[in-house]
């Protein structure tokens, strides 16, 4: 199995104020692999969607945490965003376009569709110990020239 050229794990309060920081942080992290600007924007958007999902849905009573784990390879980035909140009862229903449990809050219900479209792989599952886990993979078109340890 190929070794990542870099790895990170960050834990943030599930607060919307952290969304901007979360997407900017992951975008900065992946720069080492020299992705294109379009790829960086796609990653930022997908991270923002996943973090928003946890902020809005995971902790109805507040006071929760979101963990962002990223593994950077020469040719791709794997990002896992997880929470320990209430989770989603029917994941396959939740990832359908325009599905929202909060129609009165003007939600578009397109979060998972955007993640799926902007990334190359998306896997949504129950987090071990409760909550939700979203794994996202983006393949870089132009392979990084950086080797491990450089």
């Amino acid at each position: 199995m190929k070794k990542p050229i870099n790895e990170m794990i960050v834990k943030l309060k599930a607060d919307s104020v952290n969304e901007r920081f979360a997407r900017a942080m992951v975008a900065s992290f992946c720069v080492q692999a020299e992705p294109s600007l379009d790829e960086i924007t796609d990653i930022k958007t997908a991270v923002s969607e996943a973090v928003t999902n946890s902020v809005v849905h995971a902790y109805p009573k507040g006071n929760g945490w979101i963990e962002i784990e990223a593994k950077l390879f020469e040719e791709k980035i794997e990002i896992t965003i997880s929470d320990t909140g209430v989770g989603i009862k029917d994941i396959s229903k939740a990832i359908e376009p325009f599905y929202t449990t909060k129609p009165l809050e003007e939600r578009s219900g397109m979060g998972f569709t955007v993640m799926e479209s902007f990334m190359d792989e998306m896997d949504v599952s129950e987090n071990v110990g409760g909550g939700l886990r979203v794994k996202l993979v983006k393949n870089f078109e132009k392979k990084s020239k950086l080797a491990v340890g450089e």
Partner: protein, 102 residues
């Protein structure tokens, strides 16, 4: 997130600047609703040339404004979206209700 506006020739021009996400959505929603309550215009043009980031939360904000203005028979148009915003608009079918004019 900043929202600027001016009325000219029966048109309300709105310029969105900054990043539109869950954190800035509520304030943006309130600001736009206040502007849209005004008089002296028969259509609205939302200029996105200075919008640096938007995710699907922004789509929810725009669709919400569309629903409110539809009752008043005032159309909303989008102009100058980034290629990234354009991708989200096309994916969600937003242009079907808020056509792109430039």
């Amino acid at each position: 997130m900043q929202v600027k506006h001016r009325v000219y020739n029966n048109t309300l021009y709105v310029l969105l600047s900054g990043e539109l996400d869950e954190h800035t959505a509520t304030t943006t929603r309130i600001t736009l609703d206040e502007m849209f309550e005004g008089k002296g215009f028969r259509q609205i043009i939302v200029d996105l040339s200075e919008l640096e980031f938007m995710d699907s939360t922004g789509i929810g904000v725009l669709i919400g404004r569309y629903k409110k203005m539809k009752d008043k028979n005032i159309p909303i148009y989008i102009c100058n979206p980034s290629s990234h915003a354009e991708k989200i608009f096309k994916m969600t079918g937003l242009y079907e209700i808020m056509p792109k004019i430039i």
